[in-house]
C-alpha cells in the first residue's frame, strides 16, 4: 500500500523575507528582491552585472557565533530554514524535554546546486596568501555539497539518512523526490527536505555572466527579473534556503500535527540533449510533468496552479511553456501560473525548495502569489499568469505543481494536493 505523505512544517530565508510569514506576505504583494550589490568586490573585479537578490536577514543575526564559524554561508542559510520548518512542525530534538521521536526514523534530504563556494575560494586565497598552516581544519566539511545535510542531521538528531540531491537549479525539487522515495520505501517516518544556495560570490557572478545567463539591467535591478515578458534578458542571481517537513500521514496524525498539504507525487527526468540549453521540444520536461501527475494519481482537471521554473532567460521560458502546453492541452487555460522568481530572483539549488514552500502555502491559503514585471507578455507564451493581485484558488480539492529544471538537463516536478 502506498503511504500518503503530508507537509507539516515550512521554513525559508529569502531575498523577500527571512521567514515564511514575511516571504508569503511579500509574495502576495509583489516585492522585488534584487538590489545593487554594495560589496567592494563588484568594482574590484569590474563585474558586468552589479546586482543580485540577497537574503533580507543575515544568518549572523540568527545563528550563534561558534555555529557560524563552522558552517559555509550555504549551510548557515539551510540551517536557518531547517530549524524554522522543524519548529513550525512542532517537532523536538534529542535532549529536548518530552522528545518522543525515534531518531532512526528521522531523515534529512537537503540539496544544493553549488555548495560551499565561499569556503572553497576563501580557503584558496588563504593558502596562497598566508600558507597551509592557516587553512582552516573545517575547510572540507564546510565546502562539501553535503555539508548542509550533514549539519542539519546533527542538529535534528536525524539518524535515518542524510542525503543531498545535486542537480543544479533542479536540486530543491529533487530533494522532495528523494524525501518521497525514502518515505514511500518505508525507510523513515519524517524527512526534513529542502535546498540552499549562497553563490553571490564574484566567481559564479562572473561565470554566469560569461554564459550570458544573467540579466544586465544594472540601472534597474527591481525590474530585471521578468519571466514571460517580451523584454526579459536573463535571470537574477539570488540566495537563500527553503525547507519542508514531509512525513507520513499516519505519523503526522498520531502526533496531532497541522497538515498544510499532501506531497502527492514527484518525478525526475533528464534531457540528454545539451549540458546547459533546454531541449526546445521540452520532451524531458513534458515527461517529468506527466510522471509527476501519474505519481500523484492526479487528473489534469485537478490541477489549478503551477509555480513555474520561469527564470526570465530569453531561451529558458519557452520550452517550459511548450512542455505545459503539450501535457495540459486546452486545460492549460484553467491553470494559473506564478513565476515567483520575478520577486525572489533565482535561488539556484534553493529555488525549488523555496518555490515548493510557496506552492504549499498557495494550496493551504487557497491563493496564488503574483508575478511582477510582466509589462508586455510574450505572445508566444499565452499563459494565465497571476499579476497585480493574488488569485483565489477556490475551495475544491485541487493539485498544484512546482517545476524546476537545471543545467545538466535535469527536470524535476513535485505535485501537491490540498489536504
Amino acid at each position: 500500500m502506498t503511504r500518503r505523505l503530508v507537509i507539516t512544517g515550512l521554513g525559508a530565508t529569502t531575498p523577500i523575507g527571512g521567514d515564511v510569514k514575511t516571504l508569503w506576505t511579500n509574495a502576495l504583494a509583489g516585492t522585488p528582491g534584487a538590489k545593487t550589490l554594495e560589496h567592494d568586490w563588484v568594482e574590484k573585479y569590474e563585474l558586468p552585472v552589479t546586482f543580485a537578490a540577497e537574503v533580507t536577514i543575515e544568518p549572523s543575526e540568527v545563528l550563534a557565533r561558534p555555529e557560524l564559524r563552522r558552517m559555509d554561508r550555504s549551510t548557515q542559510l539551510g540551517m536557518v530554514a531547517a530549524r524554522q520548518a522543524w519548529d513550525d512542525a512542532g517537532l523536538s530534538r534529542p535532549g529536548d524535554e518530552g522528545y518522543d521521536l525515534d531518531p532512526e526514523r528521522v531523515a534529512v534530504s537537503f540539496a544544493t546546486g553549488i555548495g560551499g563556494v565561499w569556503t572553497l575560494l576563501d580557503s584558496w586565497d588563504t593558502l596562497r596568501e598566508r600558507g597551509p598552516r592557516r587553512v582552516m581544519p573545517m575547510t572540507v566539511p564546510m565546502l562539501m555539497p553535503n555539508g548542509a545535510a550533514g549539519a542539519i542531521s546533527l542538529d535534528l538528531g536525524a539518524q535515518g539518512g542524510a542525503r543531498t540531491a545535486v542537480s543544479a537549479c533542479a536540486s530543491g525539487v529533487e530533494a522532495l523526490d528523494v524525501a518521497l522515495e525514502m518515505l514511500r520505501k518505508g525507510d523513515a517516518d519524517v524527512v526534513l527536505a529542502g535546498g540552499t544556495e549562497a553563490a553571490i560570490h564574484p566567481l559564479p557572478m562572473a561565470a554566469f555572466s560569461s554564459l550570458q545567463a544573467l540579466s544586465k539591467r544594472n540601472d534597474d535591478p527591481a525590474a530585471a527579473s521578468r519571466p514571460y515578458d517580451r523584454d526579459r534578458d536573463g535571470f537574477v542571481m539570488g540566495e537563500g534556503a527553503g525547507a519542508l517537513v514531509v512525513e507520513t500521514e499516519e505519523h503526522a496524525k498520531a502526533r496531532g500535527a497541522t497538515i498544510y498539504a499532501e506531497l502527492a507525487g514527484s518525478a525526475i527526468t533528464s534531457d540528454a540533449h545539451h549540458i546547459t540549453a533546454p531541449d526546445p521540444e521540452a520532451l524531458g520536461a513534458s515527461r517529468a510533468l506527466r510522471r509527476a501527475l501519474e505519481s500523484a494519481g492526479a487528473q489534469l482537471s485537478e490541477v489549478t496552479h503551477i509555480n513555474a521554473h520561469a527564470t526570465s532567460t530569453p531561451v529558458g521560458d519557452k520550452p517550459e511553456y511548450a512542455a505545459l502546453k503539450s501535457v495540459f492541452g486546452d486545460h492549460l487555460e484553467n491553470v494559473c501560473i506564478s513565476a515567483t522568481k520575478s520577486q525572489t530572483g533565482h535561488l539556484l539549488g534553493a529555488a525549488g525548495a523555496v518555490e515548493s514552500v510557496l506552492t504549499v502555502k498557495a494550496l493551504h491559503e487557497r491563493r496564488a502569489p503574483v508575478t511582477i514585471n510582466l509589462d508586455h507578455q510574450d505572445p508566444e507564451m499565452p499563459l494565465d499568469v497571476v499579476t497585480g493581485s493574488p488569485r483565489e484558488l477556490g475551495d475544491q480539492q485541487q493539485v498544484a505543481l512546482c517545476n524546476s529544471f537545471g543545467f545538466g538537463g535535469h527536470n524535476a516536478v513535485a505535485a501537491f494536493r490540498t489536504y
Binding site: A64, R65, P66, R69, R133, R134, M136, P137, M138
Partner: protein, 81 residues
C-alpha cells in the same frame, strides 16, 4: 613578549572567538577537552590563532601535551623565551 597573565587573557579571547565560551571560564586549571568541551578541530584552530597572536611555533606533536589552559600558557611563555 607577554607575561603569563597577558598570555592567559589573550588565549581566553581566542577561545571565546572560536567557541563562544565566556573569557572568564578560560582559567589555567581548566582542561580543554574535559572542562571546556573543545574538540580537536577547534583545538587546532585555537593553536594556529595563538601562534599568530604570540608569534610562536606550536608543533602539531606538542598539541596533545597541552591538556590544560595552563599547559598552553606555559608552553607559549617558554617558546617566547
Amino acid at each position: 613578549m607577554a607575561d603569563k597573565n597577558e598570555i592567559l587573557a589573550g588565549l581566553a579571547e581566542i577561545v571565546n572567538e572560536e567557541t563562544g565560551l565566556e573569557v572568564e571560564e578560560v582559567q589555567s586549571e581548566k582542561s580543554f577537552t574535559e572542562d571546556l568541551d573543545i574538540d580537536s578541530i577547534s583545538m587546532m584552530t585555537i593553536v594556529v590563532n595563538a601562534e599568530e597572536k604570540f608569534d610562536v611555533k606550536i608543533p602539531d606533536e606538542e598539541v596533545k601535551n597541552l591538556t590544560t589552559v595552563g599547559d598552553a600558557v606555559d608552553f607559549i611563555a617558554n617558546a617566547q623565551g
